[in-house]
């Protein structure tokens, strides 16, 4: 790693002021697990890092919102998120997903804000949060704005977050009536990054899928929704034929890319198979 300035502001306003809208060699660092990798490999050579460590008290904690949803402080570490009783009650899929996300040490350090801000398509949380309909609160010099997670991520390691904006919280809306499942598919070792991450949320009434949110990650350049497949499911009676049809539709719709994990055509197979399996899992959960 090459030398850089390290600032550790205590107030959010000071942190924002230390960021530079025009200079990408100035960046915020939270847990730093992803940024350290980029710096160690020489891919990123910062001039200045603005540590959010001392902001943590203000950006920490998981709170129940009055509407039944939850608000997660951006500096909440993934291991705390996994153990949070509030999360387990409101959106258990987040806790389940984190069991196999990276490893214990990374989860002990990495924050949910940093996880999303990185824009890495191989992360497990983005598709899950998209399927949950989650948003982030962004703070900038001009104030706050709320952006849906699906709109936050625009490409490989690309987001709509400006250089002088910070994620301060993640907002998960109430999940009444919704069931969510996440399929993590690895193609090499069990602790590998996913070849495919597929999150499926459905609202089922009397065997009919009233509504669905389907999000894909890892196999695509960025995590994204599959609206065509969602539309196909909406209002239909769920049976094996529909699951197969939806699987085919998702495989056709998702702009999957080839990489170390496998060819694009094979990943389409994985999408088709695991969409059906994940849907079955959500329905089984709904019927319990």
């Amino acid at each position: 790693m090459t030398p850089f300035e390290l600032e550790e502001p205590v107030l959010l306003g000071a942190a924002l002021a230390l960021l530079d809208p025009e200079d990408s060699s100035v960046r915020a660092i939270a847990g730093g697990t992803a940024l350290m990798l980029m710096m160690k490999s020489g891919l990123y050579r910062p001039r200045r890092l603005v540590s959010l460590r001392k902001l943590a008290p203000a950006l920490d904690g998981v709170r129940s919102a009055p509407d039944g949803g939850i608000e997660i402080g951006a500096m909440v570490r993934l291991s705390d998120l996994r153990r949070s009783a509030v999360v387990r009650a409101a959106a258990p899929v987040i806790a389940e997903t984190l069991l196999t996300h990276s490893n214990v040490r990374v989860r002990n350090v990495a924050t949910i804000g940093g996880n999303l801000a990185q824009g890495d398509p191989h992360m497990d949380l983005p598709p899950v949060l998209i399927a949950l309909g989650a948003s982030v609160r962004l703070a900038g010099p001009g104030g706050e704005r709320i952006v849906r997670v699906e709109d936050l991520l625009t490409g490989y390691l690309e987001t709509v977050i400006a250089n002088n904006e910070l994620i301060t919280a993640v907002i998960v809306p109430p999940q009444t009536g919704w069931r969510t499942a996440y399929a993590k598919v690895t193609a090499r070792s069990a602790d590998d990054w996913p070849a495919l991450g597929l999150a499926v949320s459905v609202r089922v009434e009397a065997g009919i899928a009233r509504d669905a949110r389907i999000a894909i990650g890892a196999a695509t350049e960025t995590a994204m929704r599959l609206p065509g497949t969602e539309a196909l499911l909406a209002g239909r009676a769920i049976d094996d034929a529909l699951l197969q049809e939806a699987g085919r539709a998702a495989a056709a719709e998702a702009p999957v890319v080839a990489d170390h994990h496998g060819s694009a055509s094979y990943k389409r197979v994985l999408v088709a198979v695991h969409l059906g399996r994940a849907l079955r899992q959500t329905i089984a959960g709904a019927e319990r």
């Binding site: 030398p3 090499r188 070792s189 069990a190 170390h260 055509s265 094979y266 197979v269 994985l270 198979v273």
Partner: protein, 764 residues
């Protein structure tokens, strides 16, 4: 006093925890990785970005201008301290730094020296090298007849007499061709009832020891001390002395515990460069690679194996032809020996009267390949045991029965003509079949999860002719120090050698202290490689301890101690010297008999001092919708002779099998036009704890190696032999498709399933 009359002190067959166990669990164990020397500089290597090219210009001006940079070193500088800066165990083909041209991506081109490793690294990235690309070749078959020539002329080292004939060959990428002919294969094929022919491939993989390569050199006062994570301290001393034109006694090589080796750390790796840098800088220099850099340093051969067998009407294999092509990468390293030595056993552990073997080591523009836990043999077993299973299936014969019918038994000549002795091939197969309950019904799964089982068996000739020397010193208080150059890289040699010495001396293993290899102190040993140490060094240690014991007996006689008096050793010393004084030194040297293969036929009456035999059985479950393979159970059975330390032997077997599981299912160095796409543990995945099969078992069969120390023989590689074909055979048993190329990824299985269904997966 002969061995037979002595009372055993019970050290053999004792599952003693590793003697260094406490140091390892507390983090106190010494590794070269930890070493710092006063005044030391760190070297960081600037590496080639092209697979084959002429170096037009090295511009280090920007790098040199970075504050804190001590010096930039290129090949030109190396020449000022080493006149002919080319090294290698088999060929002197590898430049210390690239001269004139580069032959693979990642080849060292220049080095930055600085007191701060961060500065050295930054400066190394600031060096600009311009190349004129040359045509490159990456595939071993293409390289056989390619216009792209990696080395203009072959330069065998002369270390191994059987490579000398290659000197001066030019215009070829074939670094070595080994040919073996026994019987009349042509006639046998003409007379065959059935002929089977298949081709198999393996991928390039890397050892990934968790302690990356590291060497320090400290040249001072007309000598040089090298601290290196090496498996071959004696070889390093000899090779560095040769490069410098110095006598061996001015070169000192020290090691500590190794954080894994697996063949990566044999012969010279960073040592020559470290020595040259230290001579230039007149300061100690440390070269410590990152995990990424290891991928460009040494690897395991990718290979292609074409195999053809003739079978008669009774299910006997009457002839086998083997053509093996090893992709050696840009530098020979020990590859030529891999091609030759593995060639001895390419037909498998079967009694086949007519055999023809052609084994080739081939230069390509990939990172170099050398020895990795099996010296080419796992690549062979992958092919011949897949092939053997295919034959059994095609003939409608049970795979165990078919193997049993053709098995090589003690007393019969093997492919080289060497008569088999102390090789428990039948016992290994029998125990494997029994453990798998082969004759019992098997749960074949249901729905989209199909189950199958398979087994395979392989064997290997040990490396020869090689020497080990050990000394044992008995101090005046009766305590014992063992000086042996075997490097403990996790295999437990320190513990096993202490047990052997203790058994010979009639004391407890805990009373023996084993000195870490240091060429100024520990005598010559050929190297810790090829599962040779327990046998070769074990014999030398036994002889050294017996020599010391005989000298103790002489001392007792001299000082008037009556036989059987049981007088403490310290008392005997006191009687002789009048105080606590004196040392008894026992020496042992071991070199087994060996006959080199005939240059025309490849035959030899004595191919190896001992045989290693390893079998594996696998039970797998396949997800037919995705091709995902789950190994439910992995059984390893081995002939390790009489284990010195059964507990350590078992962990060696399962550990080797888990490593081979990675090579079987997902490990792969992936290249595009010679550029390695995955040089990190983020993208080159090795097995983790969740990749362990649900059940993993190891067993050693009841056997004894008559020529081994207390009946023992080496076992470090044995657990790797048969894992890959056992899994492929189990997959075919489960879902009826045959995978002939490693790794067996889910995608490969899925594609095979689609092909078998006549519905090939299209790449859009």
């Amino acid at each position: 006093m002969s061995d037979a009359t002595r009372v055993s002190s019970g050290q053999i067959g004792r599952s003693l925890p590793r003697v260094e166990a406490r140091a390892k669990v507390t983090g106190a164990a010494e590794y070269i990785h930890n070493l710092r020397l006063p005044g030391m500089l760190y070297g960081k290597i600037c590496r080639s970005t092209v697979p084959h090219g002429r170096i037009l210009r090295i511009d280090a001006s920007a790098a040199a201008a970075i504050p804190g940079v001590h010096r930039i070193v290129t090949a030109e500088d190396i020449r000022t301290v080493i006149a002919e800066p080319y090294y290698g165990p088999a060929f002197h083909d590898q430049p210390i730094l690239a001269e004139g041209k580069v032959r693979h991506v990642g080849e060292p081109v220049a080095v930055v020296l600085a007191t701060d490793p961060h500065i050295a690294e930054e400066a190394a990235q600031a060096i600009v090298v311009e190349y004129a690309p040359l045509p490159a070749v990456f595939d071993e078959i293409e390289a056989m007849n390619s216009a792209a020539i990696v080395h203009d002329i072959l330069k065998p080292a002369g270390t191994f007499p059987d490579l000398k004939h290659l000197a001066g060959r030019s215009g070829t990428n074939v670094a070595l061709d080994f040919h073996l002919r026994r019987g009349d294969t042509e006639r046998a094929f003409a007379a065959a009832e059935h002929i089977f022919e298949h081709s198999f491939r393996t991928q390039q993989v890397m050892h990934t020891p968790l302690e990356p390569h590291v060497s320090l050199a400290d040249a001072a006062d007309g000598g040089v001390t090298i601290h290196s994570a090496t498996q071959t301290p004696s070889f390093v001393r000899i090779e560095i002395a040769r490069l410098l034109g110095w006598p061996e006694n001015r070169v000192r090589v020290k090691t500590a515990f190794l954080g894994g080796g697996f063949g990566a750390k044999v012969y010279v790796k960073l040592e020559a460069l470290a020595v040259a840098l230290s001579l230039l800088a007149r300061r100690p220099v440390k070269l410590a690679l990152t995990m990424e850099e290891q991928f460009f340093t040494i690897s395991k051969h990718a290979s292609t194996f074409r195999i053809k067998s003739a079978v008669d009407g009774h299910g006997h294999i009457t002839a086998r032809q083997c053509q093996v092509f090893y992709n050696g990468g840009a530098y020979a390293d020990i590859g030529p020996r891999v091609a030759q030595k593995s060639g001895f056993t390419a037909t498998g552990p079967y009694d086949i009267p007519n055999v023809a073997i052609d084994s080739y080591e081939i230069y390509t523009n990939r990172p170099p390949a050398g020895a990795l836990r099996g010296f080419g043999v796992p690549q062979l077993v992958w092919a011949y045991e897949s092939h053997t299973d295919l034959i059994a299936r095609a003939l409608g014969r049970d795979p165990v029965e078919f193997r049993r019918r053709n098995l090589l038994r003690d007393g019969a000549p093997q492919a080289t003509g060497t008569v088999m002795r102390d090789a428990a091939i039948s016992a290994v197969l029998d125990r494997l079949a029994a453990r798998l309950a082969w004759d019992q019904p098997f749960d074949r799964g249901a729905g989209t999860l199909k189950r199958g089982r398979g087994l395979a068996i392989g064997f290997k000739a040990s490396i020869s002719p090689t020497t080990s020397v050990a000394t044992v010193a008995i101090a005046a208080d009766g305590s014992c120090i063992l000086y042996c150059g075997t490097v403990d890289m996790g295999q437990g040699s320190t513990t096993a050698m202490a047990q052997i010495a203790a058994e010979a001396l009639g004391i407890e293993a805990e009373a023996v202290r084993v000195v870490a290899p240091d060429t100024d102190v520990t005598p010559y040993d050929m190297g810790t490689l090829g599962s040779r140490s327990l046998f070769h060094m074990g014999n030398a240690v036994r002889l050294a301890a017996q020599d010391a014991r005989d000298k103790l007996a002489a001392l007792a006689a001299e000082t008037g101690v009556p036989p059987g008096a049981n007088l403490p050793i310290s008392e005997q010393f006191r009687r002789k010297y009048g105080m606590q004084a004196g040392t008894i030194v026992g020496a042992g040297s071991y070199i087994p008999a060996y006959a080199p293969p005939d240059s025309a036929t490849g035959l030899t009456p004595n191919a190896t001092p001992f045989w290693m035999v390893g079998g594996a059985g696998a039970e797998v479950e396949i997800d037919t919708e995705t091709g995902r393979v789950r190994v439910l159970r992995l059984v390893n059975v081995a002939d390790a002779g009489t284990p010195i330390n059964p507990g350590i032997v078992e962990t060696q077997l399962t550990g080797a099998a888990i490593m081979q599981l990675g090579f079987t299912l997902f490990e792969e160095m992936q290249f595009t036009d010679g550029q390695l796409r995955n040089p990190s543990l983020a993208e080159y995945k090795i097995p983790g704890i969740r990749d362990m099969p649900d059940r993993i078992e190891a067993e050693t069969v009841d056997s004894a190696q008559q020529s081994g120390p207390y009946g023992a023989k080496g076992v470090g590689e044995t657990g790797t032999f048969a894992v890959s074909p056992a899994i492929a055979n189990a997959i075919e048993d489960a879902v009826g498709v045959r995978i002939s190329e490693l790794p067996i990824t889910a995608e490969a299985v899925y594609r095979a399933l689609r092909r078998a269904a006549g519905d090939q997966l299209e790449d859009l």
